[in-house]
C-alpha cells in the first residue's frame, strides 16, 4: 500500500486565468448542428438469380456502371 499525496493546484499556479478557461474563454462557439443532407442515388447492380453478378452478367454490369458514371453522373 502506497500513500500518494495529492497537491492542490489551481489554474493560477499553471499561469492561467479563470476568465480564459471554459465557455467564457472559448474563442469559437457552435451556433447550429445539422445532419448532412447528401442524397445518394443507391443504384445497385445485382445478379439476376442471386445477389452477386456472375458469368456473363459481369461484363454487362461493368458496362452498365460505366454508362451510369459517364452519362448520368458525368464523372468519367
Amino acid at each position: 500500500m502506497t500513500t500518494v499525496t495529492l497537491s492542490d493546484i489551481n489554474v493560477g499556479d499553471l499561469g492561467l486565468s479563470e476568465a480564459g478557461l471554459g465557455k467564457e474563454g472559448a474563442r469559437v462557439k457552435t451556433v447550429k448542428l445539422q445532419v448532412p443532407q447528401i442524397e445518394r442515388k443507391l443504384k445497385i447492380i445485382k445478379g439476376s438469380d442471386e445477389p452477386m453478378v456472375k458469368g456473363a452478367e459481369v461484363e454487362k454490369s461493368a458496362e452498365e456502371l460505366i454508362a451510369l458514371l459517364r452519362d448520368e453522373a458525368k464523372v468519367i
Binding site: V35, L65, L69
Partner: protein, 331 residues
C-alpha cells in the same frame, strides 16, 4: 488590427503551390474579404518562394506577404510556426486561412496558440456574419453532423479548409509583394531537417485528387492491390486504402483514408472490397459520387453509395478497368 484576409500557401514537395491554396483564395475572395471589405492577401512561407506571388495574384490576391528564409526550405513545424506567428503579430490580419493538409494540421493550431487566436479546422464552408465574425461549417461526429461555428471577438480568426471543397475561380490581380520582415534564427529551432526522402509517384496526391480508387481488406494481399493501382492509373486517380488493408500490410499508411487516415473529398470515389465502416466513411463521406464494388450485398457501403455492383472484385474489376481504358483512349 487590419481588415486583411490572409490565405497561407501550402507548398508541395516540388516547390509548387497546392490547389487547396487557390480554392481557399477563390472562396475567401467572395465569402470573406468581399463581406469584410478588406483586401485578400496571400502568404508565402518557404525558401525561394517569392516567384509564386504572381500565381496567387491569378486567384485574386491583391497583396502577397513573403517570408523567404533558408530555414523554411524543407517543412519544419517549429520554423513555420515561428514564421507565421511573427508575421501575424507584425501585421495583425483579421482572418487567416490555410489548407487542411498534413502541414496545415501540424503548424496552424500552434500558430493560433502563440498569437492567442481562435482556430477551427477542416472547414467545408466559410463566410462572415452580419457583425463581421468568421463563420464556418465542418464535419463532426464521423461525418454524421455538421456544426456551424462562429468566432467571438478574438482576432485573428483562423481556420483551415478541406481540400476539394471549393471551386477554383480565376480573378487576375497584380499583387503588391511585401517582405514579411520576419527572420528565423537557426538557434531558436530545436529540431532541424537533415534529409528529405521523397517517393516517386505519378498519381495525384490523395487529399487533392479529383478521383480516388480505394481498396479494402477484401483484396487479400499486397500483390492484389495491383487491381487498385491499375484502375487508379487508367482514371488518373489517387490510390487509397482502408485501415484494415493498411493494418494487414497490403499498402503503406500514407494511403489510409478515414478517421485515423486522410480525409478526401473527390468528385468520384470508387470503394472496392470496402465494407463502409463509419470510421472509413468519416474520411470520404463528402465525396460527390461514391461507387461500391463488394461481394457482400449486406455491406453497409451499399446504403451510402450512388452506384454499386454486388460482385467479386476479381471478376468485376479487370473488365471494368479494360472498358474504362478504352473510353479514355477514345478521348
Amino acid at each position: 488590427m487590419s481588415n486583411e484576409v490572409w490565405v497561407v500557401s501550402d507548398m508541395k514537395l516540388d516547390g509548387s503551390v497546392r490547389k487547396v491554396t487557390f480554392e481557399a483564395l477563390s472562396e475567401a475572395k467572395s465569402k470573406v474579404a468581399g463581406k469584410l471589405g478588406g483586401p485578400l492577401c496571400g502568404v508565402l512561407l518557404g525558401s525561394g518562394v517569392s516567384g509564386f506571388a504572381e500565381e496567387l495574384g491569378k486567384y485574386g490576391a491583391e497583396k502577397v506577404y513573403v517570408v523567404d528564409d533558408e530555414q523554411l526550405k524543407d517543412f519544419n513545424t517549429e520554423a513555420y510556426t515561428i514564421a507565421l506567428s511573427e508575421l501575424i503579430k507584425k501585421h495583425e490580419p483579421a482572418v487567416v486561412i490555410a489548407g487542411n493538409t498534413v502541414f496545415g494540421q501540424d503548424y496552424f493550431p500552434r500558430v493560433a496558440a502563440r498569437v492567442g487566436a481562435g482556430v477551427t479546422m477542416d472547414a467545408i464552408e466559410i463566410g462572415m456574419t452580419d457583425d463581421n465574425k468568421l463563420q464556418i461549417e465542418r464535419y463532426s461526429h464521423s461525418s454524421k453532423a455538421i456544426p456551424t461555428q462562429v468566432f467571438h471577438d478574438h482576432h485573428p480568426m483562423m481556420t483551415t479548409v478541406r481540400p476539394n471543397s471549393f471551386k477554383v475561380v480565376e480573378d487576375q490581380k497584380t499583387p503588391e509583394v511585401v517582405d514579411g520582415g520576419v527572420e528565423i534564427n537557426a538557434a531558436d529551432l530545436k529540431i532541424k531537417t537533415i534529409e528529405l526522402k521523397t517517393k516517386e509517384s505519378d498519381r495525384p496526391e490523395l487529399t487533392e485528387a479529383e478521383r480516388v480508387v480505394t481498396g479494402g481488406r477484401g483484396l487479400g494481399s499486397e500483390e492484389n492491390f495491383k487491381h487498385i493501382y491499375e484502375l487508379a492509373d487508367v482514371l488518373g486517380a489517387a490510390a487509397g486504402a482502408t485501415r484494415a488493408a493498411v493494418d494487414a500490410g497490403y499498402c503503406p499508411y500514407d494511403m489510409q483514408v478515414g478517421q485515423t487516415g486522410k480525409a478526401v473529398s473527390p468528385n468520384l470515389y470508387i470503394a472496392i472490397a470496402v465494407s463502409g465502416a463509419v470510421q472509413h466513411f468519416a474520411g470520404m463521406g463528402s465525396s460527390k459520387i461514391i461507387v461500391a464494388i463488394n461481394k457482400d450485398p449486406e455491406a453497409p457501403i451499399f446504403e451510402k453509395c450512388d452506384y454499386g455492383i454486388v460482385g467479386d472484385l476479381f471478376d468485376v474489376i479487370p473488365p471494368f478497368t479494360e472498358k474504362v481504358k478504352s473510353i479514355v483512349s477514345e478521348g
